[in-house]
Amino acid sequence: MNEPDIVDAAAGLSSGSPIGMLRRQRDVFVRHTQGSHDVLVVPRDPAGVSLVERAAAALRVATIERDPALSAHYREQLRRAGADAATIAAAGQDAEVSAASPRLAAILRHVALVATAPGSATRARLDALQQLGLAPRDIVTLAQIVAFVSYQVRVAAGLRALAQEVRA
């Protein structure tokens, strides 16, 4: 029940540490944070967004947010999903990609916009993604992945700092 999860790993916590134990006082947070990760990044049925596209989107956000631990985690997920070296390199940058397929390049561009400037999103951009063959469900999935990693990065950063203070 107290097995370490991805937030523990990203924040450098062992589950028996004071902040690891503190997290377990909020078991609903722990369960559904990990559960969100699992259904978004390693779902049993990936439907219209492939495992490579999901992990690439998550890696792009972790890279933009400059979180080394979560970037390493999503790079490994992307490798396990079967991505080639060029795709892993393209997703793990915070700048424009040229190596990826047009569809993956469009996904990564959209992901970067949602991560860094959500206020500049427009209906026309969603229309363009739909013209590339993404269904409304797929666009929701991508938004949820970006939103989740943006959350996860801040949870990990905050808990890492809290653990440092408690140890000091």
Binding site: P18, I19, L22, R23, Q25, R26, V28, F29, H32, T33, G35, S36, V39, L40, P43, D45, E65, R66, D67, L113, V114, A115, P118, G119, S120, A121, R123, L126, Q130, A135, P136, R137, I139, V140, T141, A143, Q144, V146, A147, F148, S150, Y151, Q152, V153, R154, V155, A157, G158, L159, R160, A161, L162, Q164, E165, V166, A168
Partner: protein
């Protein structure tokens, strides 16, 4: 992009894509919508397209905002308003500004944050919450042990700080969904 018109009035939200229709929704979609704050809103009917993620997110969101003990609810609401102002989410800021005002009877605090910015004069506890929320939103990798000191100075224990971190992080999430799947409709 025009300057966001933050308000304490109620704001509506319109989806940019066709939403799930209640009449044709699957039983799992209906159950996930029932576990969401407003099952008939176009926002949740949009998120219901991906029922797997909505099933996880609704209980997480609810716990982060309403779990008992720990950080008082008004403090959670204040933190989420600060994040929403920084990200420019007019809809989210309106909803949670109104909750903060209901809980504290102090709508003027929100109005000053809107009008004068996050640097406006505040009581020490609110100042500490606003500063922490702003830094974790803008520069998560720069948060360190020293950023806990202002929170400790106003009496926060580990669980309260844990809850504050999650409230801030949850609105990095909520703002991105709200701002990129549809748009606010300003009060008439």
């Amino acid at each position: 992009m025009s300057k966001p018109n933050f308000t304490l009035e109620a704001v509506e939200w319109a989806a940019w894509m066709p939403t799930v229709e209640a009449a044709t929704a699957t039983p799992r979609q209906l159950a996930a919508l029932d576990a969401s704050p407003q099952r008939d809103s176009p926002y949740f009917l949009t998120l219901a397209h991906d029922v797997d993620s909505l099933e996880q997110r609704s209980p997480l969101f609810h716990a982060v905002m309403y779990a008992p003990r720990g950080l008082p609810r008004a403090d959670r609401e204040l933190a989420t308003v600060v994040v929403s102002i920084i990200n420019g989410c007019v809809y989210c800021s309106s909803v949670h500004a109104r909750r903060f005002a209901e809980l504290t009877k102090q709508p003027e605090i929100i109005q000053r944050l809107y009008d004068e910015g996050l640097g406006t004069a505040l009581q020490p506890r609110q100042r500490a919450i606003v500063d922490f929320a702003a830094k974790l939103t803008r520069s998560p990798q720069e948060i360190g042990a020293a950023d806990m000191a202002p929170l400790r100075d106003v009496g926060m224990d580990d669980l309260q700080i844990h809850d504050l971190i999650h409230a801030v992080a949850m609105f990095a999430n909520a703002n991105r969904l709200m701002q990129t799947l549809g748009e606010p409709i300003p009060p008439g």
